[in-house]
Amino acid sequence: MKVIVQEQPFDPYRETRRYEEQHLPPGKHGAVVTFVGTMRDFNDGHEVSRMFLEYYPGMTERHIEAVCLEAMEKWDVMDVLVLHRHGELRVGEPIVLVAVWSAHRAHAFDACRYVINYLKERAPFWKCESTPEGMRWVEHNTADPGVNSEGLKRRSA
């Protein structure tokens, strides 16, 4: 398991492949699920050009690690990699990567989703967006409505 909060940009796909080559013996896992969150140019009705992501060094890593350990207890997971940016971000850049290796795809999906949802709920990060009206702190994250998200599209449509 590895959790890194870093300022410099990263390529989530190169990092996933590199981590797998270094840490996962070939032929043991059958399923890998990755989640990549990227910076959009629009949020909550505002046009966004840049973003500053503040965090609490020490506490942030500790809480992401705790969430990963919970996921590894709840599901049959072989390894977890989490990378998260802080500092200045530009539109289109990856903010977070969660990669989960498992023998079984259901476990990989559930664990990956658990990690990103609880990371968003508990890890101390704060987004400050640069909009045409100036800098604004993002006040809340959107919650994952859960496995039954089929209704989302119908409601918003």
Partner: protein
């Protein structure tokens, strides 16, 4: 005893400072009492999150010398 207090994000903007060390003359002061001292009597914002030594806690938590207390708004990572 000395308590280190940290403010993050919009709480830092509101307080006008990132951190400070508060000296109190008795053990067992609660987070809420500490808040009243640093915030000049203002009420706690309803969404305020509190961490002591990097673990989430609530306003009734009693403090000891050397504790690091952090006040911050809801988190928005990921």
């Amino acid at each position: 005893m000395n308590i280190k207090v940290r403010y993050f994000a919009s709480m830092r903007d509101r307080m006008g400072r990132a951190e400070e060390t508060v000296t109190v003359d008795r053990e067992g002061i609660t987070v809420e009492e500490l808040w009243r001292r640093v915030a000049g009597g203002q009420e706690m914002p309803p969404n305020l999150l509190i961490a002591v030594n990097m673990e989430y806690t609530d306003a009734s938590r009693q403090l000891k010398s050397g504790d690091e207390v952090a006040f911050f708004p809801p988190v928005t990572g990921g």
